[in-house]
Symmetry: C2
Subunit: 471 residues, 2 copies
């Protein structure tokens, strides 16, 4: 089979980290990006997949990047003021890498604003500062120092990343379906469109149904993607973009004391903060408000300003239903009150059925609510590309799309997914997303209760966050 080459990358191509997402991204890069094979280096401390790299003729620098060695290491790999860093690692500070890449004249992409070790666990910081808001604000502030610098994409996998592109398609679809004229070009146009459509909020609504025939072993945390990744973000405080229609903070909810204030945080772990949400496969379901960059970038991007006052902003957060084994793992981990000793990522081979539905659930508009997203089964994922399950495929294909866009737009400075060309990115990614579907529903979070119990309920407005939250 031949694949379309979407772009060429000149100079050294360095991938940092070769975990489940790195391995899954590899075949997509090989298929769709033109580059010099002898210029491709993977920096990865583990030797577990050294054979795979050797097989593909890719250099393996077996090393853990640290505060002490990262600058020297990367300087030596990029001697000529060109090249590309694909950062898919954990425990390597994204902001430090982004600064260095600007200095080296190198393009950059990552999927999360990752800090050095010591932030996610056992941190001396107060909870307000263990959120993503200060991390993102730091990236945004730094970006202002590098206008027109080498393009550096912050936080672009499936989510954060792809979901911002899907949101734009969803808004255009909603505009078309409700007879609203729409031809947004700028950030202000898009924000105005969301306001005009009456969108109160956006869930990043995911249902992962991938299962294996082996019951989850007791004491092992099982997930369909990085266990460390889920634990890190899951035990940050829950965090969400805070819409202008919201009347009341949730219990233990806090505003941020500085910055533009598009978000709030809740003083409980995202991995244990449930909301009522909706996905096409099952309808109403619980999702977890795990903090993510898109919960911040989307409300920021879609704010309509009236001078210093936010006239409009949607609420936005992740509503994540992980795979069944991860639900059990979180229950076990929360119940034990300590991090798991054993970790396992379900491979495409061992998953017997299920898939991943990942999209945006936008609510409050003329048609009530709409889910718009990718529905990809494990069987489809297996047929599309090696080394990954459905969850991985949605991430790696977004990384590919972003790399293509960066190659085509090499001097944009710091950007997030919301600021990229969603149509071009989805054009590249779409073959890997299974079915992109649009579902309208008349469900609201005020519906469906088994008996009646005490709850903080606002019957005058179904779309208040208080109605979604199930504590």
């Amino acid at each position: 089979m031949t694949y379309k080459t979407h772009a060429r990358i000149d100079g050294p191509l360095v991938m940092i980290g070769f975990g489940s997402i790195g391995r899954g991204t590899l075949p997509l890069i090989l298929r769709h990006i033109d580059f010099d094979r002898d210029q491709f280096t993977v920096i990865e401390p583990s030797s577990e997949y050294a054979g795979l790299l050797a097989e593909h003729g890719i250099k393996h620098l077996q090393l853990a990047l640290t505060e002490a060695n990262f600058a020297e290491t990367l300087r030596s790999l990029f001697p000529n003021g060109q090249g590309f860093v694909v950062n898919l690692s954990v425990d390597v500070d994204s902001i430090e890498l982004m600064k260095l890449c600007q200095t080296l004249g190198v393009q950059y992409i990552d999927t999360v604003v990752e800090p050095w070790p010591g932030f996610y666990f056992n941190s001396p910081l107060p909870n307000a500062e263990r959120t993503n808001y200060p991390l993102r604000e730091k990236v945004r502030a730094l970006g202002k120092s590098y206008p027109g610098g080498p393009t550096a994409v912050s936080c672009c996998g499936a989510n954060p990343g792809m979901v911002s592109w899907l949101l734009k398609e969803a808004l255009l679809r909603l505009a078309a379906d409700t007879g609203v004229k729409a031809d947004p070009k700028t950030q202000a146009d898009w924000a105005l469109l969301a306001m005009t459509l009456g969108v109160n909020g956006v869930h990043i609504a995911e249902r992962d149904t991938q299962v294996s025939a082996r019951p989850k072993p007791q004491g092992t945390f099982v997930n369909s993607w990085s266990v460390d990744g889920l634990l890190s973000e899951g035990y940050q405080p829950a965090e969400l973009g805070w819409g202008t229609h919201e009347k009341k903070l949730p219990p233990n909810g806090h505003k941020f004391k500085s910055g533009p204030g598009y978000a709030i945080w809740i003083d409980r772990p995202g991995a244990d903060t449930r909301v009522r949400s909706w996905c096409p496969d099952v309808g109403p379901q619980f999702g977890l408000v795990v903090t993510h960059n898109e919960s911040l970038s989307i409300p920021d991007y879609y704010t309509v300003w009236d001078g210093p006052r936010a006239l409009y902003r949607p609420t936005c957060h992740y509503a994540y239903h992980p795979c069944p084994d991860a639900i059990l793992s979180l229950h076990e981990t929360n119940g034990a009150g300590k991090l798991p000793e054993n970790k396992h990522i379900l491979t495409a081979d061992e998953i017997t059925e299920g898939g991943d539905d990942l999209g945006v659930f936008i609510y409050g508009h003329a048609k009530g609510a709409m889910w718009y997203g990718s529905r990809l089964t494990i069987a489809e994922a297996r047929a599309l590309a090696p080394y990954q399950n459905a969850t991985g495929m949605q991430v790696t294909s977004a990384v590919l799309a972003a790399m293509v866009w960066v190659a085509e737009n090499p001097r944009m400075g710091f950007v997030e997914a919301d600021e990229m060309d969603h149509a071009r990115c989805l054009e590249v990614q779409r073959p890997y997303l299974g079915r992109i579907e649009c579902h309208y529903t008349d469900w609201t979070p005020l519906q469906n209760r088994i008996n009646r119990f005490a709850e903080d309920r606002d019957d005058s407005d179904p779309w208040q966050f208080t109605n979604f939250l199930a504590v």
Copy 2:
């Protein structure tokens, strides 16, 4: 193999309900109780297991007992003022059956105070009245009308039931291990012993680890025992015996407005009310505060009165970790906000591994905390008796033990498990309980947190309910 006959039952023996517990109880009755085979009738509306009954030469009255037909039906089955009713049904009012059995001169046992349909779901009653407290108070009041009547055991399966016997063994063990002299004979003696030992509270602490090789089908509620049973009690309000050491009601917690007030209720479903608890297999774990009769009978039985004032009473509640498929089912059901359409009970054949640890976790005493209970694997259960998994075996063997005790004590009027001879009952039951183990631990609910989040925490006393509750 020959089995010891423990008792003889004269006259008609009628089992109402032939679900998973009825079927599992059958072989134990056949083994250990002497009765006339042609006097045994099972009343069960379903024909699913008619063949099994026929095989054993047991009459099958295929009928659903209702308010309209129950009295006439039972009158015709007990014409001679003797016999025994084993009520293992759902949707048949226990209190009405108990009254009728007194009139008919018939012994009686059940495992729950079951109401007619309309109580558990879609009830017009306020939540305070959908609890077990008023049901139990009604039984206790009724019992006062029948002193020396035919013995009628209310609520005697594994829990409620067996756990009350285990609690007595545990208290004697704790007394021996801490050098406290103990020879309790009366209720007052037992209550005084618990007070002397400094027991602040009792969890009925269960961990069910039974799993099958088939992943839980989406949309199907899977459990290791009656799905209807779990749903019924799980969507009653959480309810617990309220110790005299407790300083503060939990959020949405309420005292009862009438009666002796040994319990409180929480205005949230027990199936969604988590406590930090402890079981020997895994150590710290979440348990669910599903309401149960033992959460009421134990604090009532162990109250030390000083005139009208309760001088001492332990906190007591269920801390139930159901099997993994039931955890997933509850997450799905709570998230959907509606009852499941499909239900499945895991059979002994399809369970591949795991077992059920069910015991009492008693805390606050000189040795900190102790778990004492039955640890029974699926392999052991399969080897012991047909038609049941480990969970069922702990219930059915308690029903057997209670039947034996009733046969030996035929005119005790209304009793609960706490009032029976625990030593005799456990003597009958023990061969079916796997290993009875005693574990001390220095764990407290103040230990083990992943990062720190807002919580209502009382560091001055680890054994306050507020420290156990994880909302």
